[in-house]
């Protein structure tokens, strides 16, 4: 899509939800992102792929404002995020599942869920406590359990459930299914499919490339902080050498 089109068409349909250009990010002296371009259209599912340490997480953090890019711009829902703090960015309707899960010690499952609860921009709350607990019955059994003492997989469910409680317009999942048992993993992919169907856009990082290829509309492959591929599943499947060299799929 080109900018000309974007400016003409009504914002809801053609304006990208996230539009990041030429991101350069650093940790202290080390240059981690080298000009990443990324955009996410409404209701689109985007996967971010790359080996360990290639900059996936950093890209996501740059979008959210946890890392301030030294160069480049991020627009979310059309508005720049330059001077925004992460919470302001997130408030525009992002549900964030960080890698490492970000569970708070000393806070129980129920509290985790209600502290995040928030209706969406239109004031609707399709994701209620009941619905999240229905989705993750395991959490319902552990409602009064301290978050830090949950098993790894339970924490992952909680992290996803918590993000859903914010009734987001965009879901950002870093290592979406890490530590989940196969049955639940399938369940998560199903839910992500459902989310997608309900018009929520998402960016997903995960190691299960096969699932990503099924669910995502478009894929971005990062190598050493640069985007080496941006295309849909068909394209990526055609280009096996790409998968081979950059993702280690033989």
């Amino acid at each position: 899509m080109n900018t000309f089109n974007a400016s003409l068409s009504p914002p809801q349909t053609a304006q990208p939800l996230i539009d990041a250009r030429d991101l350069h990010a650093y940790y202290g002296q080390s240059h981690v992102l080298h000009g990443v371009d990324l955009h996410l259209m409404p209701a689109e599912t985007l996967s971010l792929m790359g080996r360990n340490g290639m900059g996936k997480t950093t890209t996501l953090k740059a979008l959210l404002g946890f890392v301030t890019p030294r160069q480049g711009s991020v627009r979310i829902l059309g508005k720049p995020t330059r001077k925004c703090r992460p919470w302001q960015v997130v408030r525009r309707g992002i549900g964030y599942v960080p890698e490492g899960r970000g569970i708070f010690p000393g806070i129980n499952v129920h509290e985790h869920l209600i502290m995040a609860a928030r209706p969406d921009a239109e004031g609707r709350s399709p994701w209620t406590l009941e619905r999240v607990l229905d989705t993750f019955p395991r959490l319902a059994q552990r409602l009064q359990h301290d978050g830090a003492l949950l098993s790894g997989g339970e924490q992952q469910m909680l992290s996803i459930g918590r993000a859903l409680m914010t009734n987001p317009r965009i879901m950002i999942l870093d290592e979406a299914t890490e530590g989940l048992a196969p049955l639940i993993r399938d369940e998560i992919w199903r839910i992500l499919g459902e989310i997608k169907a309900s018009g929520i856009a998402s960016i997903i990082v995960d190691k299960n490339i096969d699932n990503l290829l099924t669910i995502a509309d478009r894929h971005l492959v990062l190598v050493k902080g640069s985007v080496v591929f941006d295309g849909d599943s068909a394209e990526i499947s055609r280009d096996t050498s790409l998968l081979d060299t950059h993702l280690g799929m033989g």
């Binding site: 080996r51 890698e99 997989g153 339970e154 989940l180 048992a181 196969p182 280690g248």
Partner: protein, 253 residues
């Protein structure tokens, strides 16, 4: 049973009203890769924590080489040659990768005193640490502080640390989590190569790797052992399919 390197009898662990591990009998044969599967919250990690001495069992016994080790503190268990990795990244964030591995290697080569006493031992520690890094392809990161690495790289460093300790028995709690596709393949291969020389207890939700590596599998549900058997029996078990693998995995396999 006598041939078991490690065995538990009636092992139980309760947290308040919750029984996370419930009368588990479990045998690990020397030189084998023994996988533990089970849905989330089944008590797998808790079991490993009991074996490694990080938790004390509420009831039951653990025998290692026919000697009881339940009730020993974690560091004593580790000194017996039982090394482990944790499900949640558990490294030394300010230290460099190399130092992370050195700390691991040193304690298993006699600790501080031995390194002080003999230069050769000290050198051995360095060599072992470097080798472990190299095996995990982290050599280029040797001087990087652990907290300046990506999540996946930190997970790899964890494996390197276990390797650096070179324990007789390795307890690995989801070693592949957080790793990329290629890294997963590589580490799977690596663990496969250890088979025979080392004994591995492996918790992992990545079924491709589990089926590629494991010789025996124990499946846990709600703190209890559902089934134990060879890889093929478990794969074929309908009970396991229902509670853990799901239909999809089954068909693929």
């Amino acid at each position: 049973m006598n041939s078991a390197l490690l065995s538990t009898r009636g092992l139980t662990c309760r947290f308040g009203g919750l029984t996370a591990v419930d009368r588990v009998d479990f045998d690990v044969r020397p030189g084998q890769v023994h996988a533990i599967l089970g849905p989330n919250g089944a008590g797998k990690s808790t079991l490993i924590n009991l074996l490694s001495g990080e938790l004390r069992p509420s009831e039951g016994e653990i025998h290692y080489r026919q000697r009881p080790i339940h009730g020993l503190p974690a560091h004593r268990v580790a000194r017996l040659g039982i090394g482990r990795s944790h499900q949640k990244t558990n490294i030394f964030p300010r230290l460099s990768c190399l130092e992370n591995c050195r700390l691991a290697a040193r304690i298993h080569l006699g600790g501080v005193i031995a390194s002080w006493r003999s230069r050769a031992t000290a050198r051995q520690v360095d060599e072992r640490a470097e080798q472990a890094l190299a095996t995990c392809q982290l050599s280029h990161r040797a001087a990087t502080p652990a907290n300046a690495m990506s999540y996946g790289e930190q997970r790899q460093l964890q494996i390197a640390m276990v390797l650096a300790t070179a324990p007789t028995l390795m307890l690995l709690d989801e070693p592949l989590a957080g790793m990329g596709r290629e890294e997963t393949a590589r580490v799977t291969e690596l663990l496969g190569a250890l088979r025979g020389d080392y004994t591995l207890v492996l918790i992992e939700h990545d079924m491709d790797s589990v089926f590629a590596l494991a010789e025996r599998i124990t499946v846990m549900v709600d703190g209890r052992v559902l089934e134990t058997g060879t890889t093929d029996t478990i794969r074929g078990s309908s009970k396991v399919r229902d509670v853990y693998l799901g239909r999809h995995q089954q068909e693929e396999a």
